[in-house]
Amino acid sequence: MFGILETGYGFWSPIIWIITIIVIGIILYIIWHLGEPAYKKGTEQTKPFLAGMPEPSKEAVTVRADNVYWGFKEALKHYYGPMIKTHSGIINDYISWFVVVLAIVFVIIGGLL
Amino acid sequence: MIPMSKIVRTITNILYVFIIGFGFYVIIHGHLTPGGGFQGGAVVASAFALLAVAYGRKKIVSMLNKEHLSVAEISGLLAFICLAFLGLGTVFFFNFLAVGRSIPVFSNTPAGINPGDLNTAGILPLMNIAVGVEVLSALGVVILTMFLGFKEGK
């Protein structure tokens, strides 16, 4: 049938998925519609309120890409430390890795098979 | 780079004609003797290298024009691929001069041991010449470019 991909163990149909998304969207729209009607854009309501302090500049509050997964990187320090060290950027290391893989494949296929 | 001494330049003046002549000999006799377009082109390009070394940076720019060499390179390649395209009536790369023998150019086909005749081998000599022109100008461009080095923007 059109739009149904049989994978052999299940199926995937984008059509059904889109119908589901539309239904969910309608429900969300209804919920949004029940919200506070007094909200107005561009009035005093939307201004950020920082305990009476002046608002800092945009440059200061921008979260930079480096800081996005800071906690994650900090938690996996023991994985990322050696990993960054391995990606040393020296061309000799790149070739060494190739030769190591070649040796392993030689031993497995040439030696054991 | 500064030009080399007068002795070197004089010898170069005499020698480079012979080197280029020998290179073209190798190109043209590619289907009869060891050699061919690539080897002959490399020989000719070595004459360019000799000139570049002997005369130095300033003089060589007036002697060899990179643009002209570039155009020669493209025309050699275009000639080569067009020769291949010409066989397309049968098959790409078909040796239409040697096999049908309808056109009396390069169409002799000797058999067995023979001293060799230039008028043989179909499109092979033409391809040799095309490739020879391409190689000599390509190597010439490389030699000139690497010899002259970086040019800063205006």
Binding site: Y9, G10, P14, I91 | I74, L78, T90, V91
Partner: protein, 514 residues
Amino acid sequence: MFENLVPHLPILIIAIPLFGAFASYLFSKVSDKARDVFAFIVLGVTEFLVLVLGKDIYTNGLRVYTLGATSAELTAPTGYIMPVRIILEVDALSIFMGIITVTVAFIVFIFSLKPMKEYSGTDKYYTLMFLLLVGMLGIEFTGDLFNLFVFLEIASIAGAALVAFFTHRDESAEAAFKYVVICSLGALLVLFAVALFYGQYDALNIAYLANVMKYSLLDKIAFCVLLCAFAMKAGSAPMHMWKPDAYGEAPGPVAAILVTASLVSMYALLRVCFTLYGRGLNTEVIGWIITVLGLLSIFIGVTMALIQNNFGRLIGYTAVAEVGFILLAAGVGFAGFSSTGFGFTALQAGLFHILNDALDLGLLFLVSGAVLHATGKRNLNELSGLARNMKYTCIFFIVGLCAVAGLPPMNGFASKLMIYESVYQFNPVFSIIAILASIFMLAVFVKVFYSVFLGPELKEFSSVKEVPASMLLAMGALAVLIIVIGLCPDIFVNNVINPAARALIDYGIYRGVV
């Protein structure tokens, strides 16, 4: 008249871009406009021809072209057992890859019309682009091992020169040097393997070699060399390190087409495994090796992508992970070498993922090129809030993001679902790792999306304008392709992927031409 041309299409598809490469350099000496028009015509004609050939091959089966013989179908000389000339052999898989290659190249060409005007040396840029296309097409269509080496070198050299195109940047020279050293090492080892075959069987034709193969120790060693060389050129971990370097420093459109170039190496790997060796060696062990390489690539690629700060480099690491998915599927497909069951599904999924990968990563690299064109920056730390001024680019990025991360209903989801399900039959743990990596991938691109397009608008970007229409058109074409494939994956899988996978499994047809 046109019917007479169809037998010649395999060579014309390679020779016309090659002619275009030579002639476009001449044209650019006349004027840039003439060159652009000429290149457009040549690429359009190539695209048309490759589609015609595709239709022919999907209906009539494989096509053979003998270069220089008295007839195109005459693979061996009359009354003789083996081929002495170079043979082009185009089956469903080759033409599948060919259509991907030419389409991506066409779109990339349209994209690079505007942004490359700002740099010097555009004449060389287009010539090298054509040559890269020729190299890839040559690898795909050839039926001769030495010829494959030659075209591998053309693709490598053109790719390296394109990586170095931004000579005003310091790092591009370094990236190009690494790229050319790695590629030529791989190509030389391929040549070594070719020499091993030549010494044993005195033949260079893939089909003939597959027929007479004795699977001796020399053949095994040649297989190891070919496997490692092509895996390195495809960018599998732990031999992937050149990939983020090269992709990060290349111009955006060049990186987009280099993705396809590494997928062409993947094609060569599949061709060697399935067609040249087939069931001769222990498929289970080799399948395990390829699978493990794929898993390593997925894991390392995704985790390293998370901490990158350069736009191109980040997508380069995700490209490593995507190649890992393909290797995983191909390895499982090779382990269960059959035309039914999970092995076949995995193989189909791998081929489907090749198609999706070329489109998705191509789109993302084009977006990175567009961002570079608009702002002149690639560092994610310096970018912010571009969605306000670059609405369409932002939308295309969302499409690419969803596709690469495997969010429904994009095409990436369909192929990844097939990979998960078939790999689950092979080994459940692998499947779970792949699913986790896919979630990581989403996290990676959420980071990029947040830091480039969301966030407060900075003063320095307040004057940024949307990129020109030709670039939007190119990105839009890729996005539309992605959405169309995502919405009707069954049509593509049944009509395009299935014959290509069958061409790999039923290797007897390919081998039977000589």
